[in-house]
């Protein structure tokens, strides 16, 4: 489904990602973890086309993405959320989804929008001003809703559970599992909470200083000494 080959990204003299090679299979749910500044969001930005990589290749569904613009990648089936929710301003919740569906999926399907709103528990809020009328959990749900309205094959969730209370996190995690099954998605989940990764993702990849330092089951990678060191520092390892 997704293949990154020797992808690097430099911002001036800073290497945000170095020689990252990664493959994600169709239907897989991959957890992407690592300390702050490890390059997780940069990886999402490269895949979704916010900016092109300094070097390396990214292919989606067997086709190289090249320098395709981010809006074209959305139309190819790559959906994403942002760590800080970015509702479409001046629009209601439903209008947010409408724009995403009409432009991203290229169609009008009100029934699907109804279903997305129900699944994400936003049906009662669909006519609310998206930028000013939602609680944090609802803002996060709207992020997911916009991405789903695009009808993606790959859904990339950037700390979509971050900042939520434990009970809300658990409930929303369950919703994400339902969504994945219902729409047959491949997912990449950036998350700091190890328990969440264990629950949602059969496979986890750990980034540190822009490099992949571990790749395997959550149980295996979180026992990896280099991963422990990356979180706790050398002295504690």
């Amino acid at each position: 489904m997704l293949a990154l080959e020797s992808v690097s990204m430099n911002f001036g003299g800073v290497a945000a990602l170095s020689d990252v090679t990664l493959a994600v299979a169709e239907g897989e749910t991959l957890g992407l973890v690592g300390p702050n500044g490890a390059g997780k969001t940069t990886l999402f930005n490269l895949i979704s086309g916010v900016f092109p990589p300094s070097s390396g290749r990214i292919a989606f569904a067997g086709r190289p993405l090249g320098r395709a613009a981010n809006w074209k990648r959305a139309r190819q089936g790559i959906g994403r959320t942002f760590q800080i929710p970015q509702p479409l301003h001046e629009l209601t919740v439903r209008e947010n989804l409408t724009v995403a569906q009409r432009f991203g999926a290229g169609k009008r399907d009100e029934a699907r929008l109804d279903e997305i709103l129900e699944l994400l528990d936003l049906a009662d809020k669909q006519h609310v001003d998206a930028a000013h009328g939602l609680a944090l959990t609802e803002q996060k749900a709207l992020e997911v809703g916009k991405a789903l309205a695009v009808e993606p094959r790959l859904l990339m969730l950037d700390e979509v559970l971050g900042g939520l209370e434990t009970s809300a996190k658990r409930a929303f995690g369950g919703t994400l599992m339902t969504v994945k099954e219902r729409f047959g998605l491949t997912m990449i989940v950036i998350e700091h909470d190890i328990e969440t990764i264990r629950t949602l993702c059969p496979r986890a990849v750990v980034l540190n200083f822009g490099r992949i330092i571990a790749d395997g089951t959550p149980e295996a990678v979180f026992r990896d000494p280099e991963v422990v060191r990356s979180y706790t520092g050398d002295a504690a390892a």
Partner: protein, 330 residues
Amino acid sequence: MRAAPRTPLVLAVLLLAYVAVPLAFGGQDYVMSLIIAALTIGGIAVAWALLGNLGGLVSFGHAAFFGVGAYVSALLTLDAGWPVLPAMLAGGLGAAVASVATLPALRLRGPYFALAILAYAHIFKILAVEFESVTGGAGGLLSIPGFPTVLGLELGSKVGAYCLILTIVLAWMAVYAAIRGSTWGLALRAMHDSELATRVVGVPSTHLKALMLLVSAFMTGVIGAFNAHQISFLDPDYAFSGEWTVLPIAAAIFGGYRTVWGPVIGALAVYLVDQLVFKELMPSGHQLIFGLLLGAMILWSPQGLLPLISRLGLRSGEGGDKEGKPGARA
């Protein structure tokens, strides 16, 4: 709470505009000329507001599109023998084509775009001066054909010209409203504060902005063409004058550029009050009074006159709703 149906209000305004105004002022050429001038400014203000509100682009260069539309239409009628009305549409197309030259400026944001497009306006003016063999140079064009008679209505008369510019302005308002009410309009409105978020859900934001620039240029070009045939004279200083940029911006801001009616109401209020009242009170420097009023409006009601009236009306009436909020869409 839903806003009250607007159809009766719109019909009343149309009746007033097409019947009452000609009946009341048809014999007063001076007043009709002022109303025509105000609508000319209003038409550009609608085009400017469309680009500003939907494209998210503040333009200081609409004089360029006004001037190009005026020249294209004038030259087609003078040199190629085109009928005036098709030539006016061609003037709009000419302005839209000219706006293609400004597309690289779309890579710029905020004041940088505004200044870049201002530079384009100066470039077009220089071209009009330098291409003397075509444009008549600094001396301009004389004896530009006037409007024909259509269905018995002499468009060359003050009342006829008024009906023509009124129809054009109403058509532009309808285009503005239609785009704003469409899915494209939703995406365009959303782009202002969240362009990246719109792009990652598939919105080709740069393409949409470019399209709004073309539409806005077309609208302004047709207005410029109208003006050329109405006054029958054209020179670069007049056609590309900064007034064709400044007055519409002031009108749109004064009336409320985020509403469909605001730019036109603003143009009528600004120009007519300035010419009929302030000019009488202060023949020299009367624009200062308007400047103060505009400043007060920006401080008191940054969304403009129409949203202010809407808010005051709702406050004294049944209470507030979405239409009364700042930035509301009328």
